[in-house]
Symmetry: C2
């Protein structure tokens, strides 16, 4: 697809501005090195090339065929490709799976014909692909009408062709050079995941920009992201469908089926990929990653010509979690002598004096790097670098200030034209206009750095498949038994079938006890009168047993009742919910959150694809908004975080072991006790089978 030795365009037009004429035009103008063939039965020639009537009549079999004919004619061309032994074809035509049942049927047919003949397919309903290193422009993207990109370390893979074109144009303007560019459209065959798998291993590729509406092969996508992290290649994703309207729009666009958006969040986070919230953010982060090596940013230095903007940068650094260390006092005193009226602790405010006093600018950068030991320095210089009088001196001062610290990240915020920007970039600086965006991108680079460092530690133990689950709701007793075997601590409980058994159980367990109805048909046990708490003597246990059965029978006369569960009264603790569901795209997903309003009102939960290891489970707990409750805020005792994490790991491995056989498992509440005192699963729910079950 990306390194063909020869390319044929089927449906080639003579008009280089038409959609069907542009690919030929681009290939010719870019001087693609191999043979270029035009195929069009209704023309003698196109753009100076002889037109062949069909693929079969070409002098040799092309490595890649671009099919630019109306949807109804595509199937025949794909069959021709198959017969001639073409290895890859691109179908740019629309009118397939993204439309209606007829379109989906047509897509299935071309897909079957291609597979049968050993042809790999890109598209349909895509904009093609290019390899800027070889001039292989198999696309009709109108963006290329104004020029070709400079081949470079950025790779783009996108389900939306128009988005890919837009990104290509903006990248070029930003000196962000794209080498490989692939649009996958409807993904009848080749997917974003498969392209990504290839890109992460290419030595030419340093950073990858991805646009997805919905991933078809979740495991391959996760695998490619994880491999990108091992290869230390940042992946920056714009995933649409966060909102209901966005999901609807995405679905009708390339026919993508997306799993839950929050699961994508979890998958990207787990694999260390960056999810951008806007086009601009994707490019900003792509820009720093293409021009600098990801490394943790633990100390940010700030040089400014405006104290006001300096204060603003402090605010945004706090927002993105970058700490600003203060310079040592003696260094502050030295700087203070150069700029007596300004703040020099970090930010170093050079004031308008920076225009005249170049020694001050040098000293500021040097102090932050040498004495402040900053990993990164951001300098705000407003329009000064484009001021003819001061520009040259300022740049020299900056360069001399950072000399000797080649590993430091240097980001300059300035308002300037492309020439000035290039000059700073050639000197090793990254250039932004807006300080908020600069700091956000520095923070993103730092996050990649941290993720690449920690990637080595993470290796969950292999999962052994667990026995099959039946497609039904399990009772609480069954669920707890299975979870206990998987390593989830449960209370010692006994199922009683009559009042005598309940009394005997209470004696064995020890008073006080709680009684609870056990029935797969009753979800809201308390509402049905199916719960009795804090029973302190044996007679009460007997009475409660019978009252429960009476109440339940009145509310749910047809419910099947397995018995009454006798449990010890658990001590109070911090309540959590730990559960797992199976996402249609990514499979089992583990969830943990604090109980009550945390989950109900704030939806404060952490998700990850299952299974997770202990350190990931700990990370999930600390990313909860209510983490302070567990960590011992306001005089509380810290909860047993390790025991909670062990339970999260156990449930995640239980879910992963059952895989597709699991529909949902939930421990709610899981009560956590103070550090060293463990956790207890007070209730549990388990549903097997992949289909929706009506309770």
């Amino acid at each position: 697809l990306l390194n063909p030795r020869s390319v044929a365009v089927v449906g080639a037009s003579d008009d280089p501005t038409k959609i069907s004429g542009r690919p030929l035009h681009f290939l010719l103008r870019a001087e693609f090195a191999g043979p270029i063939y035009a195929v069009n039965p209704s023309r003698e020639q196109a753009q100076g090339l002889r037109c062949y009537p069909s693929i079969a009549e070409l002098p040799r079999t092309p490595d890649l065929v671009l099919i630019a004919v109306p949807a109804q004619a595509v199937l025949d061309v794909v069959r021709d490709c198959a017969q001639s032994g073409v290895p890859v074809a691109i179908v740019t035509s629309a009118g397939f799976g993204e439309t209606d049942e007829d379109g989906r049927e047509l897509q299935r047919k071309i897909c079957a014909a291609a597979r049968h003949g050993g042809v790999r397919l890109l598209g349909p309903n895509c904009l093609g692909a290019f390899n800027a290193f070889t001039g292989m422009y198999a696309t009709f993207s109108q963006t290329l009408m104004s020029g070709f990109p400079t081949a470079g370390p950025v790779a783009v893979v996108t389900q939306s062709g128009a988005y890919g074109s837009h990104l290509a144009f903006l990248s070029q303007r930003r000196n962000l050079n794209i080498g490989f560019w692939v649009t996958t459209g409807n993904e009848a065959d080749i997917t974003v995941a498969e392209v990504l798998e290839w890109m992460v291993d290419r030595p030419e590729v340093q950073v990858i920009l991805v646009y997805v509406e919905g991933v078809r092969d979740g495991a391959a996508f996760r695998g490619a992201l994880t491999r990108a992290r091992s290869n230390r290649k940042p992946v920056i994703v714009l995933k649409v469908g966060r909102s209901a309207d966005g999901t609807r729009m995405a679905g009708s666009h390339t026919g993508a089926l997306s799993g839950a958006d929050e699961v994508y969040d979890a998958v990207l986070r787990q694999a260390g990929a960056y999810r951008a919230g806007s086009i601009e953010e994707q490019l900003d982060v792509g820009y720093v990653c293409a021009r600098a090596t990801p490394r943790p940013v633990r100390r940010l230095g700030v040089v400014t010509v405006s104290g006001g903007v300096g204060a603003h940068i402090c605010d945004v650094a706090a927002t993105y979690g970058l700490p600003l260390p203060r310079l040592p006092r003696p260094v502050q005193r030295q700087l203070h002598q150069m700029v007596p009226y300004a703040s020099v602790a970090n930010p170093v405010d050079c004031t308008a004096a920076a225009l005249q006093d170049t020694a001050l600018t040098s000293a500021a950068f040097r102090a932050l790097l040498r004495d402040g030991a900053c990993d990164a320095v951001v300098g705000f210089f407003s329009t000064v670098p484009s001021n003819a009088v001061f520009a040259q001196r300022l740049q020299e001062a900056m360069i001399s200030g950072v000399a000797g610290y080649p590993a430091a990240l240097l980001v300059i915020c300035m308002v300037a034209g492309p020439d000035t920007i290039s000059r700073y970039e050639e000197a090793g600086a990254l250039v932004f206009e807006d300080p908020n965006r600069a700091v956000r991108a520095i923070a993103a680079l730092g996050r990649f750095g941290e993720s690449f460092e920690s990637a080595l530690d993470e290796r969950p133990e292999p999962i052994e498949p667990l026995g099959p689950l039946e497609p039904r709701a399990y009772s609480e007793v069954e669920a707890k038994t299975l979870l206990a075997a998987a390593g989830v601590p449960v209370p010692r409980e006994l199922l009683a079938h009559d009042a005598d058994e309940a009394a005997a159980a209470a004696r064995l367990i020890g008073l006080p006890v709680a009684l609870k109805i056990v029935s797969p048909d009753i979800v809201h046990k308390s509402d049905a009168g199916g719960v009795a708490l804090a029973l302190t003597d044996i007679d009460s246990v007997r009475d409660a047993h019978d009252s429960i059965l009476t109440a339940v029978h009145r509310v749910h006369p047809t419910a099947s009742v397995e018995g009454v569960l006798v449990s010890p009264m658990a001590a109070a603790g911090t309540e959590l919910i730990v559960g797992a569901k199976v996402d249609p795209t990514f499979g089992p997903v583990i969830m943990v959150g604090l109980g009550g309003v945390f989950v109900e009102t704030f939806r404060d939960v952490a998700l990850r694809p299952a299974p997770v290891d202990h350190s990931t489970a700990r990370a999930m707990l600390s990313e909860l908004a209510g983490a302070a409750v567990l960590e011992g805020a306001r005089g509380r005792e810290p909860a047993d975080l390790d025991a909670i994490a062990r339970c999260v790991v156990a449930v995640s491995r239980f879910a992963a072991g059952h895989g597709e056989n699991l529909r949902e498992v939930e421990v709610n509440p899981l009560v956590a006790y103070p550090k060293g005192q463990g956790v207890l699963a007070l209730d549990a729910m388990l549903v097997g089978g992949t289909e929706e079950i009506t309770a």
Copy 2:
């Protein structure tokens, strides 16, 4: 200051690039209409003007004097101004209140000299001011070296001069035309608030951009903002000091003292001003407000050439709370015939077909405005408008599509050069590059529109000053008595001084009751053994009374005890906290939040300057993250929101009535019952006096 008939520059230099030479240079080059005087005892002439040795020797007294001499020489010049009857002087020199005690002393001296002589002062440590309508450039801002702004409807007032310069440059590049521009620096006399007060009433001014580090006159600032809203003039504020580092930096920059950052948030929100999070956001919102009339945006339409970006726009519209109505089915069917493979419900995806088929583009805009009744339409056109082949046709199609809907807001997202952008702007469209920023700015315009509409309703009743508070912590009984008089519902409670009184009180109130120690010296009553709950018989009341006194005496042997409070056991309900504090800048501030983890962990509170009226109190409740808990989420009964709001109003009026005499008042918990059943203040705390009190 902004409309002088004559200007003198003291310390004028002959070199037009020097700080002390630029103001003269700018005034001359901008052809300021009145006399311009140069004052410099050590020169004969400067930039072609005769130099006078002092202000006293000028042929006439100038309306405005710009003082650009070293800090130590400023006092004498201010005295000269006073003697000559100069009405306003600008001091640009640094080295005053922003430095050390010597600088602060010098600032006090120039301030006193000015006040004594009737001279108003701008600065010191500022960059001056300009009026672009008259060419009155009393500033040395280096930004003006590359040209003067086109005078227009934007006014800028900023405490940071460099920030003001930066904003002026960016505004000019954005076709955002500044008329008045004032930098206030250390604000020895003239403040941001006073300048704002003037600007909001100027007919030339349509939108105001503000930068503040800390406001010196909170009441004037709030008053000016409120007046801006009445005048329907958007005010967009960048306030720094959100973070600890930002506050420190701001403090050392212009010596500003800022109140709590979250109080600024509340003040800006209450007055309908917009708080920008970045320079870019301030300009984006300023841009839409300068080019479009604020109006509520309740229906957003989207036209796109990329389905992918269309889906992204859906996501960002949801983020900023803008709803996308779907087009009626028959209209969708019509559009579907023009663009069969794309989504047309809204967003209308014109696909690459938009390039060729101009009727489609027209139809898309018309459908959204006519059939979708959209207030605003955002169109994403990538690079198409700058494509020589399609540009003209596309613009015509767009204009014909929106013809007949002059009130609709039209925002086009495109990547294009300044000429293309101007062409669209002249045709009435607003132009953005990034769709996320476009939608954010549209939402901001809509928020101004809503705020201007609702401004008429809001008129809290006048406050009557309440009797003075003593500078001490009041007991719970005292606090409840005062709050009850102010309209806060409290339980019927009685103070008992011995066990017999407690028993009698319990009989009167009715069992069960709770007992609680009353002492100004004991803050944590439960910890001290000072509380007994749910006492169901009279003997228990007697016992509990004595146990409380024994326990309290053991823990706090020296505490002064007023007695034991006997209260009815309140029914359970939803717990809230309602309180007020006095901010050093803005005075009394009212706070409401849900109790427990909502406040402790999520800091989920709503703040407003006090007093508030009922509708504002209701708005505060609905902006809580946990609002759903009050509104009846997940099968709960809705709480009595009106009763809660009445209590918030009462506490806010209590706080405002006491003003500076109050240090803190808090009802915690306020228990809210289901709709119609009211609220009850179970505990209350009241501290009088403005100084910190140690408990």
